[in-house]
Assembly symmetry: C2
Homo-oligomer: 702 residues x 2
């Protein structure tokens, strides 16, 4: 029997030694550390740096800022007016065809768009509804006729519009929408119809109030055949904003945030539109009702159409990364100024960021935010290469969608977590609207469930990982595995996609021969993170294997029993993608001092992931208990090293006071402290300070 | 070298067997499971069940409900008017002395108060400011003169008041407030003064607009001696709500939530109040300026005064538990109705709560909510016994404060987490204000940092644990340890407090001799949870030992290096307290079927805690990897068992539609589905259903 006191000592001996080893290792590998804020800032601006700079300048204008406390009506009108300002400034048309005055610059367009979040998330999302969804549907699903006929009024905001895809009865399952578009060859019209309440279109921006048209997704039926979901351009309100005949709707009213946007519901009762209002890029109906499509498979056709709308997820990922950076800039700046005085003493207390807990709360989140920003830039590049046509094979498009489904959930969840931690780290001041954090959090909340519910997106990623796995390993043996591994490593420089596999076996992990120091080695971190994804998928694949011999119901039950594991595996995959992007970004840093600091931050991100999943690594024999302990010891020490650079690291994001607009992050706190310090100094100098009862009692006792 | 495929098979073999063992064990120990909703509901109402029932009836009144979307001004006026309604109904005076019309019922008072949250958190907190803080300060810090002079107008709301403790420069450090109250023997007045901006009183409810008086905390100075922080009754506004001479302030304006309350700042420029306005229960100043106190030590005096205000933390804990129950009632009800149709098929899809991930998201949180509710009732009983005088030794009061500092952080953080998960689980509908979740979350946000910042409260708990540890083990040897252990187990039936120690050694944990089944044994869970708290504290104590030989600065740095661990240890302690309360509540359940279901829920809570900290258990050799795996396997299976009872378990909380007021939880979803089902049935019957292109293609190929 080992009693508790003895165990305490055992723990102590073991711990001290792990910690000493960790400390020595950091010391040995550390060079001069200092951040070149300007050059790091340039790197963070990303591939479309000029557009991002211009967009940041634009959103400094108070006319574009949100004003907390407006009524619902006022806020909606203000946001609409701001959209007109964006049109005037040509700030939102970069993606449109040159033929109608655009620039055909997809990456630049999203870059500029996502910076709108610094002015007001409502402005961003209402702009996204108008030009990123409604306009994009016309652009990507329509053909030249639609571009010429509809885009100019969409671009100028003459016709605000709704993107009518989601139905009350169908959240994420677009293939099952119940609205129908039945072709009538007599009149050469489509009849748009909502058969029951569950088929009402729901949560549509611009539908509550301002929308005059909508791109409506409906089952295309002609000659008695349902050709699946297609998109139609449907006018919904007249110039006076009254509903057109057959169209009705409801206002969604107040929401948890984003109240600058008039979300609402729409329904259609045998509404007739011209045949040519079918956005016919991927499927068309001739005058006589004959259906044709360039894509024979209805399934592939559907996914191709939906795939053109991926940019919503790209821009949410970018907005989430931007808001996380802003939140940390506010909280770190305040944490570096806020201190409390001991009345009558001239020793300042520490600033709150000097407290270990405060560092533990903010610095790992700073690492995550860097990872998110670097990953987002690669995501943008991939998006641009697909949409510009530079690399747009089916596989490229699938890879892009998988990347979107992996990154958007992680970054939008992280943004909520970071905003909340920043809010709490600023205490009561964080709760006051003028300090921004609560408003941003309320607005960003819905980012985790719109443009694809995060859990469902991760499930999509997991299915892709499983498919990759089973297509490669259907008749797996060591030889096939080895060939696959080599293939993967050689062929793919950009690991944005699909199942990752190790370049080498990791079977030697957990061996005591490897010392704790290897934890900070980039290849070790990569192996640990990659191995986990692969092992999780392999394990799930094994468990699902019997499904092929089961009844449909039993197979569904079996799949359901693995749903949670699948989503966790997808999350692990997405974390790996972020880590890889951070790794590549780190390689590009040239300034030596910056590289040192950023390498610590990179390790905090990587080791933070390993710490989060430490139980898995221990249970699966990938880390020994001793190395497991070293992970947390490393994190503690790296965070201490990073603390002096925290301000530089948030400053490098490049958000100025016009973007942050948080009173607590402007220096008022430091001013107040100077005033208090001066008061106590003068009081002591004048000899008028009262004596402390405690001191008096101590004196008397002598 | 073990390649991946082989490892996958190894994993599989091992996993299957753990899972099979777990399944067999659950099967073996399961009896008939069904929830007697009524009897469980009675138990959940707690010790002051009648008061709670009455309070729940009262808050069904729409006049007390919040109305989303009001302007700041409208909302503040509505909340003030609601407070007058509470006065009319005698709903908020239970704690006051019988001499002024109260009931001197402390437990009942808090019970009734916390149910106000179902009507509107703003109403609850504004009532809390008026009667729980402002009124309580007069009651607990004042004497008969103050009770007779001030309480009647406070109780009737003739004088709304602010509780002026917090200053801009001092959040959680009340001892350092900079406002001064200097006695002037000539005029027999105190002079209340704010020396600089950092000393402004901040975030005070009722200070922005409605407050006519304030209980002001200030350094009491008389005859040149500062006797520390005392509380003074200070009129601040006249009948027309204009500030009195020397008093000024600012409105905090819009906040992230709780906008029914007019928070604001106050400052005092040499404001004179009569000597008798010192609330003099614990310290008095005679006409000639002589200071006297029944408590000689200034430190103890200060903590005694603050200790009378613990009820804020009690009621926030209760409100957080109540809101968590409401949020889960909404999300589970919706999750049990929401399903999607496959158009043209007559097979309903599963409801969303049938999905494993959805269960994993909601059911463990349901277990936490049960633990929170049971722990809260014990907390209320403890509070009542101290405040009624039934058991109010110094130790009792200290225990109560430690309990408050442990439970309030966990429950308020859990409430935010549960509200957010419930919101996401309801998708877009969760974001619409009419479904309540976003509004409740916005209001509850500040609960985690007011009435004591959660991190700072947990640090207080940790210090208490450390003190207990070091006072017992200063010269620890195995014999002393053993005696302490026996003492602890014998002497304390109610483990609300202080450091918990094991009744027996846990050194045999992790041995392969013990099979996975013991994980569900109550004593095993207790041992695992208790051992972790103790080992963490022992480890920290060891690390801090050198502090006594260090300089003040080095000792502070050493302490800071353990801050994160300390807070985690305190959290572990608080989790154990919740688990113990759940365990005791389970023992009281008589209905056999209910007991079965609740024992599963109890295991989900206990094993959920162990899963959360699994890395610790593995690193410290308390669980073998195999048993570690069994923890998650148990959770998966228990959650599956609980799923059919989820609705009963949320119904037992007893919140009706007038409390929940969430459209999505009223059955509209089921109605919509019936309508859709009927549509497709009729279409099929009429033969008018279009043929699917996919089906047509398949047919043609044949």
């Amino acid at each position: 029997m080992v009693d508790t006191a003895t165990r305490g000592q055992l723990n102590k001996r073991e711990t001290t030694s792990v910690e000493a080893e960790v400390e020595a290792q950091i010391e040995e590998t550390s060079g001069a550390a200092s951040v070149d804020v300007e050059s790091l800032g340039r790197q963070l601006l990303g591939t479309w740096a000029d557009v991002r700079r211009e967009a940041r300048e634009n959103v400094k204008d108070p006319a574009l800022h949100n004003v907390p406390g407006l009524t619902l009506t006022e806020q909606r009108e203000r946001t609409l007016a701001q959209l007109h300002l964006l049109v005037e400034r040509g700030a939102v048309h970069r993606a449109f065809p040159k033929s109608v005055g655009g620039l055909e610059d997809n990456g630049g367009n999203i870059t500029g768009f996502e910076e709108l979040v610094a002015a007001d998330p409502s402005l961003q999302i209402k702009a996204g509804v108008q030009w990123g969804l409604f306009g994009s549907a016309v652009l990507h699903l329509g053909t030249e006729y639609h571009h010429k006929t509809f885009l100019p009024a969409i671009m100028s905001l003459e016709i605000p519009g709704a993107f009518a895809m989601t139905e009350i009865g169908h959240g994420s399952d677009v293939a099952s929408v119940a609205t129908t578009a039945t072709y009538d060859p007599e009149s050469q019209e489509f009849v748009i119809h909502t058969p029951f309440r569950g088929a009402w279109k729901e949560y549509l921006g611009n539908a509550g109030l301002h929308g005059r048209a909508a791109t409506v997704f409906a089952q295309l039926i002609t000659n008695g055949v349902n050709h699946g979901v297609h998109c139609f351009y449907v006018p919904i309100r007249d110039e006076d904003l009254n509903f057109l005949p057959g169209i009705g709707g409801e206002d969604d009213g107040l929401k948890g945030g984003l109240n600058g946007i008039d979300n609402g519901r729409l329904h259609f009762t045998n509404v007739r539109i011209p045949r040519v209002n079918l956005l016919n890029k991927y499927g068309d109906v001739a005058e006589d009702g004959t259906y044709t499509s360039s894509i024979d498979s209805p399934g592939r056709r559907f996914f191709t159409m939906l795939g053109t709308l991926v940019q919503g997820r790209v821009s949410l990922d970018g907005a989430a990364a931007a808001v996380s950076a802003m939140a940390l800039a506010i909280a770190v700046t305040y944490g570096n100024q806020r201190r409390q005085f001991n009345a009558g003493s001239d020793t300042d207390e520490e600033v709150i960021l000097d407290y270990q807990r405060h560092q533990r709360r903010l610095i790992p989140r700073l690492a995550t935010t860097y990872a998110m920003n670097f990953a987002h830039d690669e995501f943008l590049v991939k998006f641009d290469s697909v949409f510009s046509g530079a690399a747009d094979t089916d596989e490229d498009r699938q890879d892009l969608e998988t990347l979107a489904a992996a990154l958007k959930p992680l970054s939008t969840w992280a943004a909520l977590d970071i905003l909340q931690e920043a809010r709490e780290a600023c205490g009561g001041a964080g709760f006051i609207a003028e300090n921004r954090l609560v408003g941003l959090r309320a607005d960003l909340d819905i980012y985790v469930t719109f443009e694809g519910d995060n859990n469902i997106l991760l499930q999509l990623v997991a299915k892709r990982l499983l498919t990759d796995y089973s297509s490669k390993f259907k008749t797996a043996d060591a030889g096939a595995l080895a060939r696959y591994v080599v293939e993967q490593t050689a062929a793919r420089a950009y690991h944005g996609t699909g199942l990752r596999t190790l370049a080498q076996s990791v079977s030697d992990f957990g061996s005591t021969a490897r010392s704790v120091q290897s934890l900070r080695d980039t290849n070790s971190q990569r192996e640990l993170l990659t191995d986990r994804v692969e092992a999780m998928i392999a394990e799930i694949a094994q468990k699902l294997r019997p499904a092929s011999r089961m009844s449909k119901k039993d197979a569904a039950d079996l799949f359901n029993s693995q749903q949670n594991n699948l989503i966790e595996a997808a999350r692990a995959h997405a974390e790996l993608l972020q880590w890889e992007a951070f790794t590549r970004a780190l390689e590009k840093v040239e300034d030596v001092g910056t590289k040192q600091v950023l390498s610590w931050l990179h390790d905090v991100f990587g080791l933070g992931l390993i710490e989060k999943h430490l139980a898995w690594y221990l249970i699966h024999g990938r880390l020994s208990p001793r190395r497991g302990q070293a992970v947390s010891a490393y994190l503690d020490r790296l965070i201490t090293r990073l603390r002096p650079h925290a301000q530089d690291l948030v400053d490098a994001f490049g958000y100025g006071p016009e973007h942050l607009r948080a009173t607590i992050a402007t220096g008022v706190e430091a001013e107040r402290q100077n005033e208090a310090r001066e008061y106590y100094r003068a009081q002591r100098a004048s000899g008028s300070a009262p004596i402390d009862e405690k001191a008096l009692k101590a004196k008397k006792r002598k």
